[in-house]
C-alpha cells in the first residue's frame, strides 16, 4: 500500500479511504479521530468522534455535551480497528489528553502526530516516539531560530519581575487550554504559593485539570470586586491573550503585560503586542526537538504540515530523508 492511499489531505481534513475516517477534520464529517482539544483540531458537529477520554471531556466542556452524536474513548496504546485499519493513540505531550494517532494497514504505518512537544510537561503525559513508515509532523516552529529556552528559567524571569515591581499586577497571557495550566503548575513548581488570579474563561478548564490530578494551588477569579480591594498588586493574573487587549484588563492598575508563547522568541512580535515581559513557553516542539524527533523515529518519509514547512522539508532533504509538505488548511499558529 502506498502511503497516500492510507492517508490523504482533503478539504475536510486528513482522510483515510480504507478506514473511512478523518483525523482532526475542519468541517463536520461522519467519523472523526481527534488528536487534542484545541479549537482548530477539535471542532463540534461530527457524527462520531474517537479521542482520548480527556480530549472528549475537554470537547464537552468547550462545546457542550452534544458536540457529537456518538463518542468513543481511545485508551493510550490500545489497539483498535476501524474498517480493517489498525488505529492506536499515543501521548503527544502537547496538552492534557493530546495524542498522536497511528494508522496502519497492509504493512504501511503512518503516525499523525497532531501538535506535539517532546520536553517534559507537568500537566500532560510525555511524548512517545512511535516507529513508523511515514511521520506526519507539525511545523509551527520549524525554523532554526526557534529554540525554546528552559521552562524554569522563563518562570524565574516572571518571578524576578514580580519581586522587582511588587506594586504592579503581572498579567500573563496564556492560551486557555494547556498553556494557562502549565504556567500555573510551573509557578507552583518554582515555589510560588500565592493565590493566582484567573480570567473567567479559564475557570472550567482549570477545574478540569485539578480533577485529573494536576494540582494548581490556590486560584481566585480576577473580578472587579477583588480589584477594588487592591488585591492585584504583586499578584499574577492569568488570562487568554485576547482579554488583555480588551476592556477586561482595565481593572488592573499599571500592569506588567506578559505573554507565554513560543512566538515571544521574536522581539518584534513582543513589541507589536505591547508585551513588556515575554515568556518563551511553547506547547510545540522547537527546531531542535523537531529534527531530533525525526532522527529518532527515522521514518522513510516525512510529511510536514501547518507552519513553516519549507525549512523542515529542506532539512530532511539535506539529511537524505524523503519529505514533502502536506497542505492542510484550517490550522492556526499557536495563539495568534
Amino acid at each position: 500500500m502506498r502511503p497516500e492511499d492510507l492517508l490523504q489531505p482533503r478539504p475536510e481534513g486528513l482522510y483515510c479511504p480504507p478506514g473511512d475516517f478523518y483525523i482532526d477534520p475542519v468541517r463536520p464529517v461522519e467519523r472523526a479521530l481527534v488528536t487534542h482539544g484545541h479549537a482548530d483540531h477539535a471542532r463540534p458537529g461530527n457524527v462520531r468522534v474517537l479521542a482520548t477520554a480527556q480530549t472528549l471531556d475537554i470537547m464537552a466542556i468547550r462545546y457542550g455535551a452534544d458536540f457529537a452524536k456518538e463518542r468513543q474513548v481511545a485508551a493510550l496504546g490500545e489497539a483498535l480497528t476501524i474498517n480493517g485499519v489498525d488505529v492506536s493513540f499515543h501521548p503527544a505531550g502537547h496538552v492534557l489528553g493530546s495524542a498522536q494517532i497511528a494508522v496502519a494497514k497492509d504493512g504501511m504505518k503512518i503516525v499523525a502526530s497532531g501538535d506535539y512537544k517532546p520536553r517534559p510537561d507537568p500537566t500532560c503525559a510525555a511524548f512517545e516516539p512511535i516507529a513508523c513508515d511515514v511521520f506526519i509532523t507539525e511545523a509551527t516552529f520549524a525554523l532554526p531560530v526557534f529554540r525554546h529556552p528552559d521552562d524554569r528559567a522563563e518562570i524565574q524571569k516572571l518571578l524576578r519581575s514580580l519581586r522587582q515591581f511588587p506594586d504592579r499586577a503581572h498579567l500573563v497571557g496564556a492560551y486557555a487550554l494547556g498553556k494557562a495550566q502549565r504556567v500555573i503548575r510551573l509557578l507552583r513548581d518554582e515555589g510560588h504559593e500565592d493565590t493566582i488570579y484567573i480570567h473567567g474563561a479559564l475557570k472550567t478548564l482549570c477545574d478540569y485539570y485539578e480533577s485529573q490530578g494536576i494540582a494548581l494551588g490556590p486560584l481566585a477569579p480576577a473580578t472587579v470586586d477583588n480589584a477594588s480591594k487592591g488585591a492585584f498588586a504583586a499578584a499574577i493574573v492569568v488570562g487568554p491573550p485576547s482579554a488583555f487587549a480588551d476592556r477586561w484588563a482595565r481593572r488592573f492598575p499599571d500592569p506588567v503585560s506578559c505573554f507565554a508563547s513560543g512566538w515571544m522568541r521574536v522581539r518584534q512580535r513582543a513589541k507589536q503586542r505591547g508585551v513588556e515581559l515575554p515568556l518563551i513557553l511553547s506547547d510545540h516542539a522547537d527546531w531542535d526537538e523537531l529534527v531530533d524527533t525525526i532522527t529518532t523515529i527515522a521514518p522513510s518519509e516525512v510529511w510536514v504540515t501547518h507552519g513553516r514547512e519549507e525549512a523542515l522539508v529542506r532539512w530532511c532533504e539535506t539529511k537524505g530523508i524523503r519529505a514533502r509538505p502536506l497542505h492542510l488548511i484550517g490550522y492556526e499558529d499557536e495563539a495568534e
Binding site: P144, R147, F244, A245, D246, R247, S257, R308
Partner: protein, 544 residues
C-alpha cells in the same frame, strides 16, 4: 554580559519611563564596577568600540549553518542581529548554560586590543559562550546599533535616582568623567565626596522657565521683568575654554560634531546660553561684504539635526548660528550669580567681538505694561518666534526650573478640525485602549470624499474622553490590521478632532505633503459633522 543582556531585553519592551528608571537603578545596585559603568556607557552611546560589520557576522553564521535555512529564517524575522543571535548553533562541547559567558569588560578590552583580522574569531568565541539574549546584546554592542529607547538623559536620571542626587549634578559632571565612571559610582554610593569636574569646557546645567498660567501676570510687576522673544530652534550652550570648544544641548549632550561650521567660530573664552538656528544666505550684505544669514524655519534646522555625517553642501546651504540669550562664564569669571541685568550687559560686550554672521543677541522687547506683551504674543514679528520669555532683571542663573525668575509664554497653537481615520492600541497602562490616533483632512472639496492623513496624536484628552473615543473606535471599526483599526470616516459618519499644533513643515515623506509639529488633541468635536472638517488647502495656507 548576561545581566546586561537581560537589562536590554527589558528596557526595549518597557514603555513607561518609571519602569525604565527602576530597571536601570536596580542594575546599578546589583552589578559591580566596572561592568555597570561599561553598561552605562553602552546605553548612553559613549562607548566607542571597534566596529564590526554586519556582513562579517553574516559570514560567520553561514560557515556554521545551512545558508538556505539561514535565508529562510532571516526572511521570516527580518532582523539580521536577531536572526544571528537565535540561529547561532551552540557547540556540542559547550552545553547551554555553561557559566563562562564573557563580561562586558572582556569584550570591550579584548576587542580594543585586537587587530582587525582577529576580530571575527573573537566574536565567534563569544557568540559560542552566550545564550540567545546575550548574543543579541553582543551583536548590538559590537555593531554599534544600541537603539533601546533610552536617551542619555534618562540614563542620567537613573544615576540620579540611584544616588539620590539631583540630575543636574550628574549633567554637570558628565563630560569630565571617563568610562567606567568609578569616581561617579563611588560618590553616588556615598563612599567618597562628589568628584571635581576636571574637564575643560564642562557643561553647566541650564536654567529653564516655567509656563505662564492664568492670572500669573496680575501678580507680577512689569518693571521687574525683561521680555525677549522665544525662538524656535534648539536651546544650546556654547562653551570655549582653554582651547576646548563644545556645543551642548540643554540636557548636556555634546553635539559639537554636528555643527563644525559653527565650532570654527567659537573663538572666545566663556560659556553662553542661546538658541541654535540655521539660516540661508540672503541678499543683504554685512559691513565686510558677506551676505547676511537669514533665519530659516524649523524645517531647515531639521536638515542639520540627528545626522551622523553632515555633507559640505548641507553645511553651506543651512549655516548654523547662535542667537545668544545669556552668559554664564565670561573669561575666567563665573558670572552665574550676577543678576540678569548685569549678565545681559556682559553678553552685549561679549558678542560684539564675535563673527556677526554666527552670533547675534536675541533682542529685548521693550514694554511698559502686560497688555503690550499680550499683543506681542498674538502678533509676533517673525514666524520663527514661538512666544515670549519673561526674565526677572535681578535673577541669578540657577540650574533647573525654579518658579518665578523666568517665565515662558508660548504663542497660541494652530488649530484645525480633522477626522479620525485610524486608531492604534496603546502600550503599558493604555494597552486595552485605542489611544493613538491618526487623523486626516479632506483632499480637494469634502464632497470628493477623500481624506488624507495629516498626523498622529496620542495625548491631549482626559481619561474619560479616552474611554469615549475607545468606545467610538470599537463601535465604528471598518478594518483591522494587527493592533490598528481603521475607523469609519466619510461625509456622513466620522469623529471630528480639534487638533492643536505648533507649526507646519513641508514633508516629502507624508502623503499629504505636510508634517505637523507637536500635534495633540485639543477638543473632541462630537457635535461637528465630518463634512465640516478642514481641507488640506486650509492646512497648506498655514505653511510658513
Amino acid at each position: 554580559m548576561k545581566r546586561f543582556a537581560e537589562l536590554l531585553d527589558r528596557l526595549v519592551l518597557t514603555p513607561s519611563r518609571n519602569g525604565k528608571l527602576k530597571l536601570m537603578v536596580d542594575y546599578f545596585n546589583e552589578v559591580p564596577d566596572p561592568e555597570r559603568g561599561l553598561a552605562l556607557a553602552a546605553i548612553t552611546r559613549d562607548l566607542s568600540i571597534a566596529s564590526i560589520k554586519p556582513a562579517m557576522l553574516r559570514g560567520l553564521v553561514e560557515e556554521r549553518v545551512d545558508p538556505v535555512l539561514f535565508a529562510l529564517s532571516y526572511d521570516y524575522l527580518g532582523d539580521l542581529a536577531e536572526t544571528i543571535a537565535l540561529i547561532w548553533p551552540v557547540g556540542e562541547d559547550r552545553p547551554q548554560g555553561a557559566n563562562d559567558a564573557p563580561t562586558l569588560l572582556e569584550v570591550v578590552e579584548t576587542l580594543h586590543a585586537a587587530t582587525r583580522a582577529k576580530a571575527p574569531a573573537l566574536v565567534a568565541d563569544w557568540l559560542d559562550r552566550l545564550d540567545a539574549s546575550g548574543r543579541y546584546a553582543l551583536i548590538k554592542l559590537v555593531t554599534g546599533g544600541m537603539r533601546i529607547g533610552v536617551s542619555a538623559r534618562l540614563a542620567k536620571q537613573a544615576l540620579a535616582d540611584f544616588g539620590k542626587v539631583d540630575v543636574t549634578a550628574i549633567e554637570e559632571l558628565w563630560h569630565g568623567l571617563d568610562i567606567p565612571y568609578l569616581p561617579l559610582f563611588a560618590w553616588l554610593e556615598g563612599h567618597t565626596d562628589k568628584p571635581a569636574n576636571l574637564a575643560a569646557a564642562p557643561f553647566r546645567p541650564v536654567m529653564l522657565a516655567t509656563a505662564i498660567e492664568d492670572g500669573d501676570l496680575d501678580k507680577l510687576d512689569p518693571a521687574d521683568y525683561a521680555a525677549e522673544w522665544k525662538w524656535d530652534g534648539i536651546r544650546v550652550q556654547a562653551t570655549a575654554e582653554g582651547g576646548v570648544r563644545r556645543l551642548y544641548t540643554r540636557t548636556g549632550d555634546d553635539i559639537s560634531a554636528t555643527f563644525p561650521d559653527l565650532m570654527e567660530h567659537l573663538n572666545f573664552e566663556g560659556s553662553m546660553d542661546g538658541e541654535l538656528l540655521v539660516g540661508h544666505r540672503s541678499g543683504d550684505l554685512l559691513d565686510d561684504g558677506r551676505q547676511r544669514i537669514e533665519i530659516g524655519s524649523f524645517g531647515d534646522l531639521q536638515q542639520r539635526l540627528n545626522r551622523k555625517i553632515v555633507s559640505a553642501k548641507t553645511i553651506e546651504s543651512y549655516p548654523a548660528f547662535i542667537r545668544a540669550y545669556d552668559l554664564m562664564q565670561d573669561g575666567d569669571r563665573d558670572v552665574r550669580a550676577e543678576p540678569f541685568r548685569e549678565r545681559r550687559r556682559r553678553l552685549e560686550r561679549f558678542v560684539q567681538h564675535l563673527d556677526p554672521e554666527r552670533f547675534d543677541i536675541s533682542p529685548l522687547v521693550p514694554f511698559d505694561d502686560w497688555s503690550q506683551i499680550v499683543d506681542f504674543r498674538s502678533e509676533p514679528p517673525h514666524p520663527i518666534i514661538e512666544g515670549l520669555m519673561l526674565k526677572r532683571w535681578d535673577s541669578a542663573y540657577v540650574p533647573g526650573r525654579p518658579r518665578g525668575p523666568w517665565f515662558k509664554w508660548k504663542r497660541e497653537p494652530f488649530l484645525i478640525d480633522a477626522v479620525l481615520m485610524y486608531a492604534q492600541r496603546g502600550h503599558g497602562k493604555r494597552s486595552s485602549f485605542y489611544s493613538d490616533y491618526t487623523f486626516g483632512v479632506w483632499k480637494g472639496v469634502p464632497e470628493d470624499g477623500e481624506l488624507v492623513p495629516v498626523g498622529k496624536a496620542y495625548f491631549g484628552f482626559t481619561d474619560e474622553e479616552l474611554k469615549q473615543i475607545d468606545k467610538y473606535v470599537r463601535d465604528n471599526t471598518v478594518e483591522r490590521f494587527g493592533p490598528v483599526r481603521s475607523v469609519r470616516a466619510n461625509l456622513k459618519t466620522g469623529l471630528v478632532l480639534e487638533i492643536a499644533f505648533e507649526g507646519l513643515n513641508r514633508s516629502a515623506r507624508h502623503k499629504s505633503g505636510v508634517a505637523m509639529r507637536f500635534p495633540r488633541i485639543s477638543r473632541l468635536r462630537w457635535d461637528k459633522p465630518a463634512r465640516e472638517a478642514d481641507t488640506l488647502e486650509t492646512l497648506e495656507k498655514m505653511l510658513p
